[in-house]
Amino acid sequence: MSFAVARAVAWRTLHNVFTHPSLLIPSLIFPLFFFTAFAGGLSRVRDVPGFDFPLGYTAFQFAFVVLQSAAFGGVFTGFGIARDFESGFARRLMLAAPNRAGIVLGYGAAALIRWLFTVAVVTGVAFAVGMKVGGSGVDLFGLYALALLLNVAALLWASGVAMRLRTMQAGPVMQMPVFLTLFFAPVYVPLSLLKGWIHAVAVVNPLTRVLEAGRGFLAGSPTDVGAAFAAALALAALFSLWAVRGLRNAESAG
């Protein structure tokens, strides 16, 4: 029964996204834009003494952009949830769905499919501009698996906020922490080249492990894979509690 609800909710979200360019394009443009601005504009960073990523700056940034697109894909779906609460449409869903967990599941499935579309485009563009990959297909799959967990975690975070605040004004509250977590990881240079306060922040940032492992997968020399998956899973588990409590909060607020 909750599967039927999930499928209906996912259909509606995806139908809206794929038939309205204004909803589809931002989630597609942002990663491509970051990829262009960073991989293109900052490629000289590979010449900084101590930069040791073997595949060049395009692949180095590709790993970040894949993770960033996953996280923002989840947040954009969170915007949709907030919009549904603000317009009252969520109430319609809550009323129709015998099992309300299916609603969250449906939004989650939609976020995932939406991200898969984005990442397919980003990957296509990366290979088209000559990105080199050291790892095998299995390794590449490792990077995508990490990103997928991040997509789920970000969606659960954003949906938890959306269900608590139930207004589009909550957009920055969903987006800003994700943005900061992403950018307080070693985005531009490897962790070893960060100095000072940003190094201290990056070391404790769970996303650092995910990003470094993702780059390891691309280079064909995966490192700290266990820790990275553990960090991503922990984020997803933590935010699933946050989202479920958010759902209870929305239910008790009517």
Binding site: S22, L42, S43, R44
Partner: protein, 257 residues
Amino acid sequence: MSAFADQVFLLARRSVVRTIRQPANVVFPLVFPMLLLAVNSGGLKAETRLPGFPTKSFVAFALAVPFIQGALFATMNAGTDLARDIQTGFLSRLSLTPMRGIAVLAGQLGGVVTMGVIQATVYLSVGLAVGVRPASGALGVLVLFGFALLVSLGFGALGAFAALRTGSGEAVQSIFPAFFVFLFISSMNIPRNLIAAGWFRDLATANPVSYLIECVRSLLITGWDGQALALGFGIAAAITVVALALASWALRVRMAR
């Protein structure tokens, strides 16, 4: 005070008060550029080790960006506010009064410029607090404020033009990503001569935003660089003149309806 000046002052004050009463419109243009500054100056500090990088302090290098970014935010806010005036009929009400149309535009832009100067003060204070010492000295800071004023005026007029032409706040907001493209495809994060990818360097060179950033940057890290100042002020003045002309024309068209 002449009636015209009085009208402009009243409308400028309304524009500032209105901005201040929407905390998101005040906080976001102040906080977001500072966050981006923190993120980039931390993450890209290693760039200073590249041969030919013009300074040892990446914060000083990156501090130029908020000045331009803040102006972009202010543009959008001003444009959205003016579009709201059109949507709510406030502009039509003004056009029924003896007030001269140009006072509406001047008042709105007066508000934008005031906010621009307030933002510039905050950015510079943060820079000074983290140890940036402008290479051009106190006089340079004055020039910097003059430049911030000019850029706010120019971009504010662009926002006003968009609002007057479309009459829709959403349409004005939708231009925002385009401004971001201009910002990111520029010498924002790295000097142009250090951009390795030829196509990106060409785009950054063709992008007027690069010169606006480099003008501020020269005052902060180089000292008195005549070429950078001439290019920056020249481009900012050109944008301002064109945008003001477009905005006044759009205003005449709208008030004539």
